[in-house]
Amino acid sequence: MIVIVETIARLAGWLLLAPLLPGIINKVKAWVAGRRGPPVLQLYYDLGRLWQRGVVLSSLASPGFIAGPAVAWVAIVGAALLLPLGPAGALLSFRGDALLVIYLLALARFGTAWAAMETGSAFEGMGTAREVSYAVLAEAAIITAMLTLSVHAQSITLVEMLTPASGVGAVLLGAGLFTVLLVENCRVPFDDPNTHLELTMIHEAMILDHSGPPLAAILHGASVKLLLFAVLLTESVVPLGHFSGPVACAVLALGVLTVTVGVGLVESLLARLAFRRVPLLLTTAILLCLFALLVAWKGGAA
């Protein structure tokens, strides 16, 4: 019984809090630019409206066009539920759950990429090509980050990996993971969520033909993914295990907020990279994670 209540509470937390993050990012961007900006709750309004709208399907699209976003949404939310939340621990914890989280995110990628290719549009193909290609490098970075945490904590269970965080290499790992967060969530400098020039987009180009509830699922899934990465980043840098319960919760919330504001600031201060440079930045992220791994390795031997 308690398990069911806890599951529902966690699910509600993830689902309801996630759309706040893009709102905060947009506020920060508006504030830096001296504008008033859209309300923080704008995404909630958008999602509510989209959920009520009808769907325009491309005449070429198969049922996979709607199944893809649904699969992606479930996979992302499932990955989020596996993530431990500071002192509250994880809903379900077992050896190797870290890999399941990574592969659930890959399943989400498969779902969105498949749905994007349904329409036969060149723009969506372009977005898919970029998404699946950059994911190759991002995957290398994220598995290296996970190895760092594993080596430091001597475990492959997320709860045990994230309690002591990454130790001395935290700064390196944090920088690497932040870069991965930016690329996986399609933020500047990899992608511009506000642009209207399709040729330069990744994620936004993939969803050009989506409308109504499937689009709502995609947008909401993207916000949950952002929250997931923000929580993961905070927990792998800040050793939450050292704090008492309430303090740890506050630190976690503060960390997520910092990451969100950080994304907003990056987006305000940096221009989007030329596509040729993107692999370079991603390779840098891999190297940062690798150095963090070496630090963790040495730390473990000492």
Partner: protein
């Protein structure tokens, strides 16, 4: 014991198929399916934990008495053989029927039965000489199956390359078994613990069996052979034949002592195969060639697991070694199942459209919904995504590797890069299969080839469904197959008792069905909601572009271009391009091809040198008698000099 009777029935059935198959297609179908079921019935008790079946006969074959053995390792591979052979048999009944291929279908049936029979014999033989005989017959049967359609020159070339490469491998095996026989004094095979002087023989086995398994860089024969063969043959070649190479490695690394470096080398080769196989797969534009390269990747994953097991065994029995081996063995099954499914799916596409070129296909889901759905399922499974079977085995291999890293020993120095390469290979495989599924089945038809396409009939459809069901079942019930692979991993090198189902695998056994259920519910919910809000069909919006044509779609080539560029140093793509010029351009042209790097850039030039030397030597042979007499005299003189100098010393 029943095992013997079942095996005997299977062998009789397959033998009857060889003899009578060409004339009586329906009887052949029945007998071959019966043989597959009998094989399965024979191995199930052993897989379920019955003691190994050992059978010796006084009957002498080539001077050695028959000795068959069915232990857990053989049984695991035999079970896969039975399933894939059964599916392929039923599939070929429609795919390569007498009506469509009156000339080649009868021979195809004969060689198919012979292939399955010889593979079963390889798996059962416990005598080096008979192993070699069965191995050679299996290679030759596969050659005749690959070249069924030998009117086409490319098929003949592929078959020739396969035959040459296979025999290079067989040569190594000849050396291996002969040296083994000389060392042990008999052809009989069995565990030989403690004979450390036999360890160097492992390198011969690695070369011989590695060539068969298609590991990088010994994979040269694989892409063309698998692409040119009829699809049911590709399915069994990729699903099972490659695994016989793995079987050889598993078997003899378990029975014989292995050198210190074996684990390092196998793990390293596996990691390289996984990465480069996936990279080459992404670059292919031929549907079946992509699948063939993907086999290289999956063999790499299996070798990573085997290498980790060897490392673990070399550094004292550690749990992670067996865990990785269990993952590798499960991946043997998984790859056989989903690759069989995908090759059969590719066959359906080829059968319906007559082309394997992905950039000529597109939009097939409308006419071939079954094939499209099944291939999509296979694509998810082969990309190693939860909740299907590919994830379970890759996950076990990962766990073994990461445990090795955490152990902080020297083996971490290879386990660490292997883990990262495995992840990169996984992401590349995902990209390849998005490319495959999307360009073949989604979007608009690109050429006329698609217009007359049709869904495949029941004989082609149900074998695919059966393989897909097995993929789903292993994915949803991983704890149920664990005892099988754990027992096999324990039999691999004697002296270890099988591990009970680990707790984390039991948990995964709950998570995967729950995930599948939630995915289903999510899709249903979104579909219902969309329908209630109103679904309207319209042309693809594409940012308001008014007249999109099918030719403007993203092709597979462009989809892979970005990631392919990073491997440009390896691919060295050949590009032929003629740009449209002037105000009223007549035509433009762009042909891109990724050559077989190892074959065309390394082996062919090396072969050219050999050929040049031979040509130079051939000048000495010109048919003039007086010169030949001179050669003879010179030869005698040289012999005499050697004799005199030898006599002095």
């Amino acid at each position: 014991m029943m095992t013997g009777w079942f095996l005997g029935a299977a062998v009789l059935g397959l033998g009857a198929g060889v003899v009578a198959g060409p004339r009586y297609p329906r009887a052949w179908l029945g007998v071959t399916l019966f043989s597959a079921v009998a094989l399965l019935a024979a191995v199930v008790p052993v897989l379920a934990g019955a003691p190994a079946w050992d059978w010796r006969s006084g009957f002498l074959l080539s001077g050695a008495s028959l000795h068959l053995r069915l232990d857990a390792v053989s049984a695991l591979f035999l079970a896969l053989l039975a399933v894939v052979a059964g599916a392929g048999t039923a599939y070929s009944h429609e795919y390569w029927s007498d009506r469509e291929n009156p000339k080649t279908a009868p021979g195809g049936r004969r060689w198919w039965s012979s292939l399955v029979l010889c593979m079963a014999c390889v798996l059962l033989a416990s005598n080096g000489l008979h192993f070699l005989i069965a191995w050679e017959l299996f290679t030759v049967s596969a050659y005749f199956l690959i070249t069924l359609n030998r009117q086409q020159p490319e098929v003949r070339a592929a078959g020739w390359l396969y035959l040459a490469a296979s025999h290079a491998g067989t040569l190594c095996l000849f050396a291996f078994f002969t040296l083994l026989m000389l060392a042990t004094g008999g052809w009989d095979l069995g565990p030989l613990p403690g004979r450390t002087e036999l360890a160097p023989l492992f390198w011969l086995a690695l070369a011989g069996f590695g060539l068969k398994s298609g590991m990088f860089p010994l994979h040269i024969w694989l892409p063309s052979a698998h692409a040119s063969a009829p699809s049911h043959v590709s399915a069994i070649m990729s699903g099972v034949s490659l695994k016989l190479g793995i079987y050889g490695l598993v078997r003899f690394s378990g029975w014989l002592p292995t050198p210190e470096a074996a684990g390092w080398v196998v793990l390293g080769l596996g990691a390289v195969s996984a990465l480069l196989g996936a990279a080459f797969a992404l670059a292919q534009n031929d549907l079946k060639r992509l699948l063939a390269y993907c086999s290289v990747e999956n063999v790499g994953i299996i070798l990573i697991g085997l290498g980790a097991a060897l490392l673990g065994a070399a550094h004292g029995e550690v749990a992670w070694g067996r865990l990785a081996l269990a993952g590798a063995l499960l991946h043997v099954w998984n790859h056989g199942l989903f690759k069989g499914l995908l090759f059969l799916g590719a066959g359906s596409v080829l059968h319906a459209t007559g082309t394997r070129e992905m950039s000529r296909l597109g939009g097939l889901w409308r006419v071939m919904p079954w094939t499209a759905g099944l291939v999509a399922l296979g694509a998810v499974a082969i990309s190693g995504l939860p909740p299907l079977n590919g994830f379970v085995s890759e996950w076990l291999v990962y766990l073994g590797l990461i445990e090795a890293v955490i152990g902080h020993g020297t083996e971490a120095w290879i386990a660490l890069p292997a883990t990262i390469l495995l992840a990169v290979a996984g992401a590349l495989a995902l990209a390849s299969f998005v490319k495959l599924g999307a360009t073949v089945f989604l979007g608009a038809p690109r050429t006329h080839a698609v217009e007359h396409a049709h869904e495949s009939g029941p004989w082609m459809r149900w074998p695919m469904v059966a393989l897909a069901v097995l993929c789903v079942m292993i994915g949803l019930l991983p704890a149920a197959v664990w005892p099988v692979v754990a027992r096999t991993a324990a039999v691999w090198q004697t002296g270890v008792s099988p591990q009970p189902t680990p707790e984390f695998l039991a948990t995964l056994g709950h998570v995967q069905p729950a995930l599948a259920l939630l995915l289903g519910l999510g899709v249903l919910l979104l579909w219902r909601r969309s329908c209630r809000n109103g679904l309207r069909r319209g042309p693809t919006w594409d940012c308001g572009y008014a007249e999109p044509t099918a030719r403007m779609q993203y092709t597979g080539g462009s989809l892979a271009d970005l990631a392919g560029e990073w491997f440009g140093w390896l691919f060295r793509p050949e590009l032929l391009s003629r740009r449209p010029r002037g105000f009223f351009p007549a035509e433009g042209l762009r042909v891109a091809r990724v050559p077989e790097t190892v074959l065309e850039r390394i082996l062919t030039p090396a072969g050219g040198v050999v050929l040049q030397v031979s040509t130079a030597v051939r000048r000495m042979q010109h048919g003039r008698l007086q010169y030949y007499i001179l050669y003879l005299l010179l030869g005698l003189l040289a012999l005499g000099l050697i004799a005199i100098s030898g006599g002095k010393s």
